[in-house]
Symmetry: C3
Subunit: 352 residues, 3 copies
């Protein structure tokens, strides 16, 4: 799409982001780039003051900036209160979302006889849809994806290449699963018998609600009984492991390499930073935040932020870290105290 | 399978778990569910006292409970000393293990001319079996799995979709590998030459012994020379990385996201909790336990439990953590000591 | 290949590793093995003194050792200053690098009409090459690999089975990507709107320069705008996550399960040990080393080694760890100081 700056300002304003053109309103842009990379016909933006110096060197045709920011003579500015939100809207407007290949139902896909596939759905070559699977309208199943028997896949779902969904799992509408992710594999369910591990059939499933997006190469265990659940609107990055029977609320955001053990209950709108780990059978309250690499071993209260291993409220953690980093000094002070005190005690003895 | 409570109690008793019916012995159950989810025709159980209140609301047709537990009038109980072990046996009895699709050798699989496939084996559409591969009887190779030349795959092995086995690896009987796991990729074997990394061919392989189960999206490096080894009966969860030349003993249990570097020797019946990491070239003794997120940098003695980064015996770690969490207090106490001591020293000076 | 010891010594000498035969120069070797495993016709080596005792029991036909090492009578030695470098060269000489299957362009591959594939390239059965993709000469695309539209794949690239490359990514010459790795998936790019996460199209790509090797089941996010970049000659192990917009320099070495967040700038020849994590928007200087499990939250200066969570220079970290491990003692000493001091203060009061 090509827009004049006037049209773009009007669009942003209509989206609740009042915007004014400071420059040539008839100039056009058709794509978005960073200040460093942008050229003729491209829109850029300044959200982080750290990059302000690039305003004088950018070759963008226009830049989204805050009202008070100065730009060079000759650089067209679009002034708006929140340039980051505005550039996000501009990216969607100019570029749109990814368009998927249109395979229809490829004759090189494997579709079991009992599978039901909605209208407008794409099933790519080499994708595999097993018996008794239902796939909603307008879904896209990329090559190499495998959907086992009994799964229910919602409308407008996207499964990228080589996604694997084990039997009887349920995906809501508009769920997106990135390449290589596995949904519904067996969890680590074994009974210890004479120092050996005897497998417990994992007869539950995984239920993923509407509008969830899951990154690449994640693994979400099916429940032993009942369901592992990912709540509506939750977004995962890559290489995340979710244990069996864990239930995650709506609108959570998990960064890469997070691991959540089994039977955990995670509230809504919880953020987990990279490489955080959660032990089994605990509860993480609504709107909680778990810091990067935190090792959470106890229930986290709603709205709190925890950090450290074992995780504690973030201010406690920071205080501990500060003291730990000055521990060598503390140790020296204790040594001096001992020396001074011993001298004093010695003097006292001598007095007597 | 449908069983009366009498039949189920008899079965459990025959398995070494004496069990008595307290209720209507002719009632039937056909599946297992949690207290919360169970309904008509379903068996449930109480193993964790935390869920005891659900006994009064469950709609299960029967519950496995300890002999001393009280249940509501009208709820059929099966009384046994270890309800968790009993429900495990009941799940196997009522549900059985997963049944795999029966593709036979799909004409949409790719089987190289020199491959030998045992009787009763299933090779799904889109699976790839390279030259000089042998696959045992009754094995199941799901779609998208790739087995490179020279591999030996035992009887009743299951490779879930998109598993990749590099050349010359050996899998014993009844090995199960979940979707997306990669076995035998090259490890990080490079020789440093003038600040560049020169590849060392990794000419070893991976040997996985009988009855091993490996989760989804794991990676097990082939050895540079010789074999990386996973011992009989060992079970892995997901997203686990094993380095080249590492040898892991029998009957180990590794939780998700564990990483073991190369040339490590892990004993038998070792447990590693989630996100634990082990540096290269060390030994972990038999029956040792490595705690969640532990960073193990030294040999671990048999039977010990280690925790922390760097990992130390668990009691030392807990003591350290307890002191660290009270460090701000300790620091304040040292400050008070200094103040008191200085005052005393001052007084002493004044005395003289 | 079969070589006499005389030929092998001559070869190593020609490679800048002067080598002398101490034994029967006409004996031949055709492969390399460890001291423990080697037999007739095999070459072994002693690089780590820890294994010296195996020199007396090995059945290798010859061993690479340092000039001063004593070997049993009857064991042929090849004496050279750096046996580890020499055995590396010998492995390459005797075994060569992996030979890929020769499928040509399989008629069971899916090649979109607009794709261009170089001469000598192999595209295996079940591989998928989308529209407007260019693949260089002599590349090997294994079964189940998926290359989305607009990608540029260099000469002699190897994509192992089930590798997925999202649209518009660029791979240089001789890039090797191991099985299951995903390149160019969307990063965690969402704008928060009323407690929900609104997707920001990720319109950038990933650029991987020449001679990069990436392990199995890694994930490299495409940039929101511009490119995520992996520099020439960099080598990754497995299960590594790289965030969107991150740029990594040449000749880096990353061990398994490393996670780097988005918009990070990593210099050249940086080493990251296993399970290290890097927060977003920071810089890691050239030749820096990040220790295992380190949590890096701030810029790392060139040439420094950091460790710990949060990461600090390694010597500071070691000092902190040493003090922490003796914290219970320190606490006891503080308690004794208080007791002694209180007694002294009491005496003082009594004096007055």
């Amino acid at each position: 799409m090509i827009l004049t700056l006037a049209e773009l300002a009007e669009f942003l304003t209509s989206q609740g982001m009042p915007c004014e053109v400071d420059g040539a309103a008839s100039v056009t842009v058709s794509s978005v780039a960073t200040l460093e990379d942008a050229g003729e016909g491209q829109l850029s933006f300044l959200a982080n003051p750290k990059y302000e110096s690039q305003l004088s060197t950018t070759r963008a045709s226009a830049v989204l900036v805050k009202p008070e920011v100065r730009v060079s003579r000759g650089l067209n500015a679009l002034r708006t209160a929140n340039p980051y939100a505005a550039v996000t809207a501009a990216i969607v407007r100019l570029h749109g979302h990814r368009e998927h290949p249109q395979w229809g139902i490829s004759d090189r896909a494997f579709i079991a006889r009992g599978a039901v596939i909605g209208s407008g759905a794409n099933v790519g070559p080499g994708a595999h849809v097993d018996d008794d699977v239902q796939i909603g309208d307008d879904a896209t199943i990329y090559p190499g994806a495998y959907i086992a028997r009994g799964c229910r896949i919602g409308r407008s779902v996207t499964l990228f290449p080589n996604v694997v969904i084990y039997e009887n799992c349920v995906l809501g509408d508009r769920v997106t699963i990135h390449a290589g992710t596995v949904i519904g594999e067996d969890g680590l369910g074994y009974a210890p018998v004479n120092d050996k591990w005897v497998k417990i059939p994992q007869i539950g499933n995984v239920v993923i609600h509407d509008d969830v997006e899951i990154g690449a190469n994640c693994t979400i265990d099916r429940a032993t009984l009942g369901s592992s659940v990912i709540g509506r609107g939750t977004k995962f990055s890559n290489l995340i492991a979710i244990g069996h029977g864990t239930k995650i609320g709506d609108d959570c955001l998990f960064v890469a390499q997070v691991g959540v053990a089994g039977s955990v209950s995670v509230g809504r709108h919880v953020t987990m930073a990279g490489q955080a780990g959660i032990v089994g059978h605990i509860t993480i309250g609504d709107n909680a935040t778990v810091g990067a690499k935190a090792g959470v071993t106890n229930t986290v209260e709603p709205g709190t932020t925890v950090l450290g291993q074992p995780a504690v409220p973030i201010n406690d953690c920071k205080r501990q870290v500060a003291v730990v980093q000055r521990l060598p000094e503390l140790k020296n002070e204790v040594r001096r105290l001992r020396r001074d005190l011993d001298r004093l005690m010695k003097q006292r003895e001598n007095d007597e």
